[in-house]
Symmetry: D2
């Protein structure tokens, strides 16, 4: 391969354009790995990038933060966490976040690694000028130290990418929720994050899982039922939705509510849906979509509510996600989240389909020959 095709989002005269560009095949520094991309996902963040809604995004960008590929080349010996060396031909994914420094106050004292200020993210905060550092490309350059994980043999790339970035962030959110046996868990939102939250809540021993989608997106609520949600709620008004949750919970509200909607108004509603001394996890507010009113006396103080914000993932979340996806792939059939696979030429359509909610999960396959892997 002489030239590498990659999709680049660039900002020209204040407008963002998506186009295919060609890059030279990179030379690997010591410890680097070259990946031939099998699949990359399209997620809401990519739509935000496309609309210029992420402050400080370093255009031009090659999007695609969660990816799976085949190792094309390795410079030197690169080991996984167990100490086993990677080999050319291995099918792997990697943690999109890189350069977490392990030297700063957040890494060493607070141990809040997702808030390390040095952290960079493939496909989001790296520029195309710095290399093939996003997945909408035939090749991905994995810098030395990028945390790579081999997919278990029986977890197909298509199943893994169907979970996409939604699966590990959902796992992170559910871990933060400290669900107790038998808890009733409400999930606000039935997009890729919401559906994965429902899956991991089920896996964590919830008594009942209720998925809410106010958009009456029937496909998604049906999908929620298919993966095992006990109830779905599609009411168009907050009162209607809150009322249904109360009815299903002896008028107390959910033990745990997890917001995965992206809509700030969901937050007030979620507090109302949660029982006294319950837990409310907010994971869906990835971009700033505005302020919202809350009543601290009634909704937090008197309610003894526990609220937790969840942002980003770390290596362990990805590692555990893969372990559980491999184990439960037949039970939850992540693959069915994928409505369509797009080539590099079709990324603008893919972005549009994600934005219009025509699909649950859109996937890019940059190399036609690997598409059936």
């Amino acid at each position: 391969m002489c030239k590498v095709k990659a999709v680049v989002m660039d900002k020209v005269n204040g407008e963002i354009k998506v186009e295919i560009r060609e890059f030279p095949e990179p030379t690997l520094e010591e410890g680097a790995v070259l990946l031939k991309t099998i699949f990359s996902e399209v997620c809401g963040t990519d739509v935000h990038l496309f609309h210029g809604q992420l402050a400080e995004a370093p255009y031009p960008i090659i999007p695609g933060h969660v990816n799976v590929g085949k190792i094309e080349n390795i410079n030197g010996c690169v080991l996984d966490v167990e100490g086993n060396p990677f080999k050319v031909g291995d099918v792997v994914t990697f943690l999109d976040a890189h350069e977490t420094c392990n030297k700063c106050w957040y890494c060493l004292v607070a141990k809040a690694t997702t808030r390390c200020p040095h952290r960079k993210v493939y496909g989001i905060t790296y520029s195309a000028n710095d290399g093939l550092l996003g997945g909408w490309s035939q090749l991905i350059y994995l810098k030395p130290g990028v945390k790579i994980i081999k997919l278990p043999q029986h977890l197909r790339p298509i199943d893994f990418i169907a979970g996409g970035c939604g699966a590990p962030i959902a796992l992170h959110a559910v871990e933060s929720a400290t669900i107790e046996f038998g808890d009733t868990v409400v999930v606000q939102g039935s997009g890729p994050v919401g559906l994965n939250v429902a899956i991991f809540a089920i896996l964590k021993g919830a008594g009942e899982v209720i998925v809410i989608d106010p958009c009456k997106n029937k496909n998604r609520l049906e999908m929620a039922q298919q993966i095992g949600a006990d109830h779905t709620i599609g009411d168009s008004t907050p009162e209607g939705r809150i009322g249904k949750v109360l009815k299903l919970t002896c008028n107390r509200g959910a033990d745990v509510t997890i917001e995965a909607s992206g809509n700030p108004k969901a937050v007030t509603e979620g507090m109302e849906m949660t029982r006294d001394n319950g837990t409310y996890v907010i994971v869906g507010q990835y971009t700033d979509a505005g302020d919202v009113y809350i009543n601290p006396h009634r909704q937090i103080n008197k309610k003894l509510l526990n609220i937790r914000g969840v942002w980003g993932i770390d290596y362990n979340h990805l590692y555990e996600t893969i372990r559980l996806m491999a184990k439960h792939k037949d039970r939850f059939c992540w693959g069915q989240f994928i409505s369509q696979i797009y080539s590099l030429d079709e990324t603008e359509t893919a972005l549009n389909d994600v934005e219009e909610l025509h699909v649950i999960k859109a996937v890019i396959a940059p190399n036609e020959d690997l598409c059936k892997t």
Copy 2:
């Protein structure tokens, strides 16, 4: 004693009046205890009662929820948690919350006893029609099962009442905050709750304690310094206060912020003052003082903020408070919080002094002869 004098707040034609009434000395049912009141406190809740701001308050009410008294009479054998019988003459206090049922879903499944719907509170949710069930009275009737605690011999009644209801609720808030060694703790508010929060944060191993009082209430900020706060902030603008906290925390914000102000606007401000992945405890929003805007993306989600509402206390909070007050009475000198002791005739003045912040802590002494105990 034939007639018992007690202060009653009554609602007449929609207006609340405070007056002394006389009650017959009560007959004790089996397991009941009669207390001769030494001190009762006046707290913000009493001011709310006085202004009719507590929904469902069952006027007429004898106020006074935290009290200390001498046992005048016991019907039968009443034991403390260690199994020791109380005796006439013992100087005791008791948990104001009573009738927590230990039978309902909140008591047995959620173990959130402060949310038990059967719970009643002396001086707040009991009516004067039901008996001498508040502390602004020469005698207090302790129903069978009320949880009584003997004061340790070297903890004077005046020191205990100076902590008042602020001390155990502050202990509850600080316990919920899970302060780590060396944490910087910001306390919003320097009233009785805020000052006690500062004390318990110090006792829990905080690295630095910062007390904020935007009212420039110098007395209180000086008191905060006296009990060991490392810094006080009296700025009149949110920007000024937030800026000072950032300056004191390498621009990160506090590890833990505890709201004890009662002002809903403090909540947004408190979120801004807390560092990424820090903890924010809201304990001061005892009454509904309105809504407030928050930005869930920036202030909770991306920040990985942990928020906890704290409401009411349980027996263990009172028990632990007394243990620690007895141990540290000379270090923190709770007694100095008391600006003035009022007789039953002076309760309206006391209410006014509390409302106008003329005093930190106001105390009622219903029996002149016990006032020097």
Copy 3:
């Protein structure tokens, strides 16, 4: 019904005898409930009672602590935790532990209710002289305040009793283990407790569950596989068993090990099987079967091991167990644990079958007409 038949274990001249005795039908005090027994279980504790291995057992005893029955009579209005009244004909179970006082130091300060010194247990620490307070009887007398739970309509009594006391204690143990997503969990022992521990570990999101039975009790290990254990180990030597666990865990040991064997030697072995900084829960040492050697340096200190002893259950464990059994009854088929149902005449055979491990779970059906419920 005029006379009530019940099995009584009595101690005569130092020997324990089992016989059927007749009791008058009891009169109900206010708040009491009379249960017509559908099923009672036979568990290891009953074998210990039979052999006089429980210190301070108040013979004569009517055994049977976990039971399910039909309400025959109620004196007054008795409510469940939701506030709904029980009715004659309801199929219910109840928490065997009663008289937990909610007044002592362990109840109120430590909140360690299973260590309340006033607690009594149906079928174990109540004497037959005090009434029909065990389940190997046609009728069970539920004292006022006994915590009763209605079985959900689709949870059959036979399925519930098949879980028996093993299910809630297993739930308690698994909750204490704080299993993280993807953890490898080893269960030592494949009796009723061990099998239920495996089930709840699966329900809690374990990555792999490994069940060990050194007795090569094939039936039980097959049952373990049937309910979803990923691996079973039947080696006869500690070295063999430890070696197999290490092999399955990249030589690190299990993230979580839960002892449910009753053999003290399992404790040293379990420590060796658990990884550094892992968690070891000890739930199976119900009676004193002797001391065991450990090496605190190597097995606890340097290993940063977390060890938790688990004893008894509380209402919430039973409540959550029933909720989860109803939800997952078709997945785990508790009913298959029951090898045989015995009449009151056959309890000695049942005790023998349990002791000889001929059965996984033995069940007593005191009333022939209710046996098919």
Copy 4:
């Protein structure tokens, strides 16, 4: 300085010898820092090294793992966790553990960094052949990436070194103990670790702290009282010691017991001293001093005991320790733990004095001119 004097422990014909050797002044690689030693400590581990009791110790070794020094030279720009550059002349300490990899399963998945297999420790697991990697030397070579902390201006080197390695390990142990307000904490052992455990337990809000020293080492028990222990116990028999603890705790035992004795027999005794559902932390079993009998039924299971092994420290423990030592240096006067300061020529005497318990803390001052810093 041309030649650097350092004490070396070497193994010659199976015997360990201590001697001063001279090394050339090292050249600094990029990112390395050279420290002129002010103080190094002598701790029990050094005695173990001296007696060859640490398996796999890479003799010859320059002992001295906790150190404080003045920066003599820096190659390049080296930053602290806040991002501030170190300067020549700064008085600093550093985390003795180095090369924790942040790449292996223990670092990334278990987040149990003290169990990272790549970790090396200055003065213990580095050989003198690898450089000046221990503190009993005039100069210490800090490899690139070693985690350095500047001492706060008002924390004198002598006060810091008096805490030594005992202070951060004690902080780690107390953090693991999750002490609740008012808890009674028993500390087994009154050596440098035990005394620091007592200090941090006091700082964490313990109700009462009881220090036990069965050796009747009066000096140490007096020191315990001086730093604020509420009670000390010097009984020579286990029964006597257990009896005293029970007497001080209403016959229940301590809420939290922390073992800091090094004697395996203390473990059984500590379990007996701890109340039901209490917490037992084992931190003192640094070397293998043999096995011990425990009764899992009575001492763990029925007791619902929580046991935690604590090993080593991480950066945050050192960071927090320094913050708290600076704050509380006048309250606890760590400096008084130091009985004597030894020169490099006197290290064998120092080792002997530590072993014979003639001193609480022995300190080496390799550079006479810095001794008064």
